[in-house]
Structures are given as structure tokens and as C-alpha cells.
Assembly symmetry: C2
Homo-oligomer: 410 residues x 2
């Protein structure tokens, strides 16, 4: 299949993008769904923002180098990637903190309705945030209801305030139908919060076209913004005049530099800013996002699907498809840009594969997760990765003591 891989690489519409990344030699990186690799412009920006801006221009950099505008600038860079028009996306805080903001605001906009529905296998922070809000407001004002993914639609009735769903499941890679679910929820007067952690930069998202209400998302996975880079938040224009989030820090004030002693919320997406943003991280993110300026998300999706299909075919070709049970949907249109496999020794296999030069990741309890990032992965990478996996599986190297389970990290 090496020849097939090389043929696909030659035809790849995105192949020129690989040169934009500082990929470590000898490593095949299948974990861009957890932490994207370093774009070369991001490396340059890290030095520039530190030595050239902070070091040289000190406090004056807030205006001179537009630090004060970074949350808005980065938000506008992300907007087209997720199908959002201007003035609806801002970059700030973490997904967890942003979820708290939108959930609080959405719940407050729903009057007496108190139910928040989410999926039982949603990413933990999504569930935990509703629990936190429920603990704070009390069960008479916020009630968490967890349902199975397949039961979401049945659970929507006119007693529900908010539906909180992640488009692409972090374990299985299963992708929900955002347009259909949003429509079904709206029919019952329910507001929907979409978590785009595994979507932004990976699959086409059309927030405005789907008439979405709110969304949050991550910039350090497919958007390659750097470890723990600030998250983003989307509030549809039509909601901004009624939206009031409780983390009312000074940066979200209508006039932050008036230092007024009464909070007047900015009635714009800026209201979601709370404290002073981490400029070094956000400036590096700003540089990383420049890579997306001319990217067509249709190309990204087409290559993503081709990569994961090729990977499945390669596993089959190498006789690994029985032992590694795929739990991602086998229909490409129903999954995001990842695959997930179950194996009793997933953790150890993942470690032994890393030793062989292929970085994927493990998710408790027994999942080997493989991300396909179309901007820098080649089909040849995948073939080589599968050949190495074949070696790991055949020699059962993963049973060795050194691959025993330790702490793993997202």
C-alpha cells in the first residue's frame, strides 16, 4: 500500500501546508487531536512577543503591538473556520470557564426552565461544569440530566432549558448532526451550547447557517495554538443584547479603562472577556491561526476522511483489524477526524508505539485514539505508522514492564 499512499500524497491539495510546521524528525504524530504540533510562525512569534515586544516595549505593547485586541483578533481568525460571521467569536480563558459563562447566561435567558441535558459520555469538563452550576444555584434552578447519545432527541421537551452537546465525541470520534439537533431543540424552545473541542479545524462547522445559539471550543488541538492556548466562545448576534454571563471581570465592561466602580456589561461578544488574558499564549495562537487564512474547510474534511479511510484499509491489509476493535463509526460521514480502538492493552500498546516513533494517545479505560490532522499528516506517514504498529503487535513488546500504566494526559 506504500505506492497508494505516495499516489495520494501527490494528489493532496493541502500538501504544501506541511512545510509550515516544525515537525520533529523521525516522529509520526497522530495526536494532533490532543495537542497540535508547532507551526514555524508560532515559534518565531514566541521569541518576538517575549524579547521583541514585552522585553523592548514593555507596557506600551498593549497598544503598540495590539495586545489589547488579541482576544478579538484571534476570535475573528477562528470565525470563518466554524462558519461564524463577524463580531460573534472571542478568544479567552479555557473551555471549562467559557462553558460556565454560556451555561449560566443561557439558563438565565430561559426563565423558569431549569433542566440542562447533556450526554453521559460527554467530555468530563462539560458534565462537571453543569454539576458546578447546579451546586452553586441549587437544584431548583439548575438540574443536570445525562442521557445516552442516541437518546438526545427523545429527551427534548418544553421543560428543558439548555442542551449541551459536544459535536465530536472525544473517545469514539462519533459526530452528531449539529443542524438536526439544533433544529429539534429550537422547536421545543431549548437553547443549545455546542462544544467544538474536537471540531474546530477538523470538520466543517456552519454555526450561523445552523442558527446556532452558543458554542465553545479549543485552539490547541487542530488549530495548533500551543499547549493550553486560550479557548474561544461564540454567542450568536441575536442573543448578545440579552446575554449576561456572571464572570464579570473588568475586561468585559463596556468601558474597561474608565475604571468605573459599577459594572456595565459590553453588549457585544467582548462581554465574555473577564480578566487580563495570557498574552504570550494568545500571541502565539494568533500566529498559529494565520495558517488558516487561505484554507478551504472542504479540502480539510475531504483529506481527513481519506486519511482515516486509508488508515482503516492499512490495518486490514496488515491483518490488525480483528485485534484492534474500532469503536468509531465506520461510516466516514458519522465521525470526526479521529478513530478509536479498543484493546485490553491499549495503554501499553500506545507506549510501545511511541517508543517506535509513532505518537498516538490513550484514553481510559482501554482506548487507543488516533487523530488525523490534514494540515501536516501524509498518507505515507500513516502507512509507516501502521507498519510499526504491526511490529509492536506481533512482537507483543507492549507486555514489557516498561509499558505499564502511569499517568496519561490529554
Amino acid at each position: 500500500m506504500l505506492a497508494d499512499a505516495q499516489h495520494l500524497d501527490n494528489q493532496d491539495a493541502l500538501k504544501s501546508m506541511r512545510a509550515a510546521f516544525a515537525l520533529p524528525p523521525g516522529i509520526i504524530y497522530l495526536d494532533g487531536n490532543s495537542l497540535g504540533p508547532l507551526p514555524i510562525v508560532a515559534r518565531e512569534r514566541a521569541l518576538e512577543v517575549t524579547a521583541g515586544q514585552w522585553g523592548t516595549d514593555l507596557i506600551t505593547s498593549w497598544n503598540k503591538h495590539q495586545w489589547i485586541d488579541l482576544p478579538i483578533i484571534c476570535g475573528e481568525q477562528i470565525a470563518p473556520i466554524i462558519g461564524a460571521g463577524p463580531d460573534q467569536v472571542v478568544c479567552c480563558d479555557s473551555i471549562s470557564v467559557n462553558l460556565f459563562k454560556v451555561l449560566s447566561a443561557a439558563l438565565a435567558m430561559q426563565g423558569d426552565r431549569k433542566k440542562v441535558i447533556t450526554t453521559e459520555d460527554n467530555f468530563p469538563t462539560d458534565i462537571y461544569t453543569v454539576e458546578g452550576l447546579q451546586g452553586q444555584l441549587g437544584p431548583d434552578r439548575c438540574e443536570l440530566i445525562k442521557v445516552a447519545e442516541e437518546d438526545i432527541e427523545h429527551s427534548l421537551d418544553d421543560s428543558v432549558a439548555v442542551l449541551l452537546v459536544t459535536q465530536v465525541n472525544f473517545r469514539s470520534g462519533k459526530m452528531l448532526d449539529m443542524q438536526a439537533l439544533t433544529k429539534a431543540a429550537h422547536k421545543k424552545g431549548i437553547m443549545v451550547v455546542w462544544d467544538l473541542a474536537h471540531s474546530a479545524g477538523a470538520v466543517p462547522v456552519e454555526l450561523d447557517a445552523y442558527y446556532a445559539d452558543f458554542a465553545v471550543g479549543c485552539t490547541y488541538k487542530y488549530l495548533n495554538g500551543g499547549p493550553g492556548a486560550p479557548a474561544f466562545i461564540y454567542v450568536a448576534k441575536r442573543h448578545q443584547a440579552h446575554f449576561q454571563q456572571p464572570l464579570s471581570g473588568w475586561m468585559g465592561h463596556a468601558a474597561p479603562f474608565a475604571f468605573d466602580n459599577r459594572y456595565v456589561p459590553a453588549q457585544s461578544i467582548r462581554q465574555n472577556l473577564s480578566g487580563t488574558p495570557p498574552v504570550l499564549s494568545m500571541s502565539v495562537l494568533n500566529a498559529a491561526l494565520t495558517l488558516w487564512a487561505d484554507i478551504d474547510m472542504a479540502h480539510v474534511r475531504a483529506k481527513s476522511v481519506a486519511l482515516s479511510e486509508f488508515f482503516l484499509a492499512a490495518l486490514k491489509n496488515l491483518g490488525l483489524d480483528d485485534e484492534l476493535r474500532c469503536i468509531a463509526p465506520l461510516i466516514a460521514g458519522e465521525r470526526g477526524s479521529q478513530l478509536a480502538f479498543r484493546h485490553a492493552h491499549s495503554y501499553a500498546i500506545c507506549q510501545a508505539w511511541i517508543d517506535a516513533g509513532v505518537i498516538a494517545d490513550f484514553r481510559a479505560p482501554d482506548i487507543l485514539r488516533i487523530g488525523f490532522a490534514p494540515l501536516y499528516l501524509s498518507f505515507t506517514d500513516l502507512w509507516q505508522a501502521c507498519e510499526k504498529l504491526k511490529e509492536v503487535m506481533e512482537k507483543k513488546a507492549y507486555l514489557g514492564e516498561k509499558y505499564q500504566r502511569k499517568l496519561a494526559v490529554t
Copy 2:
């Protein structure tokens, strides 16, 4: 007074620290109370964490380079600077977000009491955060009461839940008596949240000795952690078992990597972590904090007082003390590490002074604010700065069109 300045510089116990900073040539920086300058180790770390860690070791850096431990490591570096024993300080989010966490948790620990007292000229974000919480919980569960600084003690009675105070006023530089106020509040069963934004690294703070409850603070001012570097939060050990903050993100779970779908809060300072931290910013902060390892806060305070006293004397010597009305306490023991002056043209004066190579800052409506950072400022710097100010004032250069007011930033 130049000879006096040189004499003081020769005797300076902290003079060797200046070499640890990358100070831009030809600039005298009196704004370290807004954004500390670049430590050389921080510049090196920015490159290392970007190219050397993220770029080379990718996702494995979470364990290999201890990214996962950075919030705790930085917290333990800050602890001795603010008089805190181990396991009580963690680095995360912004002051605004951290205030929301501690205020929510403290209020919940206070049963039926709902009043939160703060000062009417507190830093806006402190006031706004209480307003945000009041808006979210409703006035029957959270009631903001603003009092004048001099009325704090009178306002404390047993109907009050929480006292939220900033030790050093961001405008005037006035320093409150932390020990006395904490004691007075405790007598009435009130919990106290201290905002140490203008204290940490500037004045001695003894949280444990004062029997403090909670504190938050900033790392990008006197601690030189970089623009918007993550803030910190202190929760006294005795409160940690009963403390529950509502921003229950996955990093604050007792076992974050179990990916459990029910939130079990870490009953430790780690519970204050919410989402994934901005690693680039926090790693640079970690490097900047190494400068404090052998610093004696008594030396810092002694030099801080000497610097501000010298500055006042220099203004007097140059005949500027009438025109620039000092609103900071004239008794050194009653102020933090800054001075503040009122002038109708403060904004323009600040801009003209910047053009002359001296960076101070302006705070609305009419305040010229000068910070004294003992780690890198010399007495000779101050004398030269005052001489340049004299020129600005004499020539009235500040009346020129180019110094008209634009946006200023903290």
C-alpha cells in the same frame, strides 16, 4: 542629589538582581506595578518551552517537562513570597476568575449570611465580580455593599458574610492593615478575601501568620511573569475540606485522568484548577519566579520604602512637589510600593515623560502612578527620571497635540 543616589545604589542589598533583567537601554521603567519587565531566564524559557518542549516532545511534554505540575510548582514558588506554607497556593486563570471562585465558595460556607463588603474604590474587577455573583445568585443570596476605605471596620457586623479587600489600593497606593482587618472580621464570623494584586513581590505579606482565609493575586506586576501571566489563589489549609468552588472543570477533579462522568472535587488547593492552563505563559512565569528563590522580602520592603522616599525628596528638591499633588500616604508604612500624583494634565504628562524615556502610567481620571520595583530599579534611575520630569513640566511639552488622551491600559 545624584551623589546621594549613587551612594544609595552602592549600599543596595539587591543591586545584583538588576542583571537578571533584560531592560531596554535608554529607558527608565517606573511601571513595574503594571507590567514587570522581562527576566533573562524568562526569555530563554520562552524559546525552550516553544521550540524545545512543544516543538520537539509534543504531547509527551505534559509529563516529560512537568507541564501538568506547573500550576502547583508556580504556586509553591509564590507561597513564601506571601507568607504561605505549602499546599495552599496554586497558579491558574485570572484574578477575576479566581475571585469568582473564592467569593462563591466563601459565601456558600457562610450559610444564611449574604452580605459581601468591599471598598468603593477597589479595583473595578473586584467590585464587578461581586456584582456578577449577585446577578447570578439573586439579591437574596448575595448582596454587594460598598464602603469607603476608612469605614471598613465600622461596617463589620455579624450579618456580613465576606469582606473583600485589596491590600494596596491600585490608584492611591494606600496599604490596609491586613492583620488588624482580618482579626476584626473574624471576631464577627466574617471570612476575608484579600486581593494581593499590588502586594505580591512588593510588600511583605504573612497570610498564614495573619490567619488569612483566602487570597488572590497577580504575577505579571512585581513578580515579572509576563503580560497576562496566570494569577494565583490561596486557600488556607483549614478551609480546604469544606471549600467548594463552582468552576468545576476537569483539572480540579480528584482524579482528572480517570475521565469519570461525575465530578469529585480534589479536597486540596488543586480543586481551584478548572480547564487546561496556558502552558507557554505559565512556563515563562515559572522561570521568572526562580528569581525570587533567595530574596528576603525584608530587603525588598526596605528598598521599596527607600526608593519612594528618595523620589519624594527628589521632586521636592526640583521644586515639583507643589504642582504634582501626592495622593499616596506620606507615611511610608501606610503605603505599598507606589506613589500617585494628581494633576489636571496627568495623561499628557505621562505621555511626554514616556517620550523622554521614562515609563510611568496614568489612571483615570487624573492620576500619574509610579511604581517602585526593588529588584531592578536604582536610585540613580529615579534621579534621572525626576530630572526628565522637571524638563517636561518646565517646557510644558505635555500641552502639545500629540499628547492628547487616547486609550490607556493596565
